[in-house]
Symmetry: C2
């Protein structure tokens, strides 16, 4: 069972993660930020926790305050990783608007502290703080733009340039994620990833 | 110069495109729909119109009522197509929140009828119709989910299965888009696309 956290147990560092995220597209004063923290559902999960399975209907979305959540598809018995969500990233693709079962898994690669959102929480929250409706919308617009840029970059790049891009934009991933998962995420075999790493180190 | 359209010139078929899109996530009555149409900025563009160039700061978003808008990157003098937006699809990735210049082009592949959105229009529109704030947000959430699914499908598939998927999900594209653009969108050469088509026809 996930361990519920009270707002007082959320330390300043975790609060800062959400503050930094929101500050990208909204100016909130301290009172508004505190009100937000008090009404969020924040949970801790151990490494290995499966948040969503293939076949389940997703009815939650998340925001990573700490840890790494991995999205993968199980194809012919092999895990194909399509996303690593880390600190400051929302996990919004898990909610099923049309009640269709999920095609993928969502898995805590590390112990995680997550904000958990359910539709009923959101409705209540937005009734209390209607100004968050537009903040929410702009936040999702940002995510959509980033998602489409990531997709275009993937389409336009070779596995080696994808790896170089990861080195530049998400260097923490290279240390915190097992090599076979990283290789799968880059669309290559672990052996190819090893060759690319050697080549880059030699240069 | 784009030719401005009055709401009366938007025929029932075009209205239906937007109605069908909105009906996916909101129930609007006829009065609300009419109010929406009256306040939208609807424009016609000829085939060949460039809506956004590499290096420009994007300050518009679009919704396709008719036609096909293509997104491409110019890499070493070659156009690499990353998206075809057709009837019923919003083009939301073009707006630059951070005033960064665009890395891609947005081009009318056909004569187009588009809803054009600018930040100031949106603010005015939402002040008049605050109920659209949540409809907008849910619409963008839908787009984000679809975008992430398309990305995952691309990562997990071979060029041949990408082509088969297109045959199933967007068969109209195969007839309305030049082969070299389609090949680029699938991440292959026109020769490979031609081989895949022959193989599938023979089966």
């Amino acid at each position: 069972m996930p361990k519920p956290s009270t707002p007082s147990s959320i330390n300043a560092q975790l609060r800062q993660v959400l503050k930094d995220y929101v500050a990208q597209f909204a100016q909130l004063n301290d009172a508004e930020l505190e009100a937000m923290f008090e009404h969020l559902n924040i949970r801790e999960y151990p490494a290995g926790k499966v948040l969503l399975r293939e076949g389940q209907v997703g009815n939650r979305c998340y925001f990573v305050l700490q840890g790494c959540v991995r999205q993968y598809y199980l194809i012919d018995g092999l895990e194909k990783t399509t996303h690593f969500y880390t600190e400051g990233q929302p996990v919004l693709s898990t909610f099923s608007f049309d009640q269709q079962p999920s095609k993928f898994y969502l898995y805590c690669n590390e112990p995680c502290v997550l904000i958990v959102g359910a539709p009923e929480d959101e409705i209540n929250f937005l009734q209390m703080f209607p100004q968050f409706e537009s903040i929410n919308r702009i936040g999702v617009e940002h995510e959509l733009k980033k998602s489409q840029e990531t997709f275009a970059n993937y389409m336009l790049s070779t596995p080696e340039s994808r790896y170089r891009n990861l080195l530049e934009t998400r260097p923490d991933l290279l240390d915190r994620v097992p090599q076979y998962q990283l290789a799968s995420y880059l669309g290559i075999t672990p052996e190819s990833l090893s060759r690319i790493r050697k080549r880059i180190t030699l240069k």
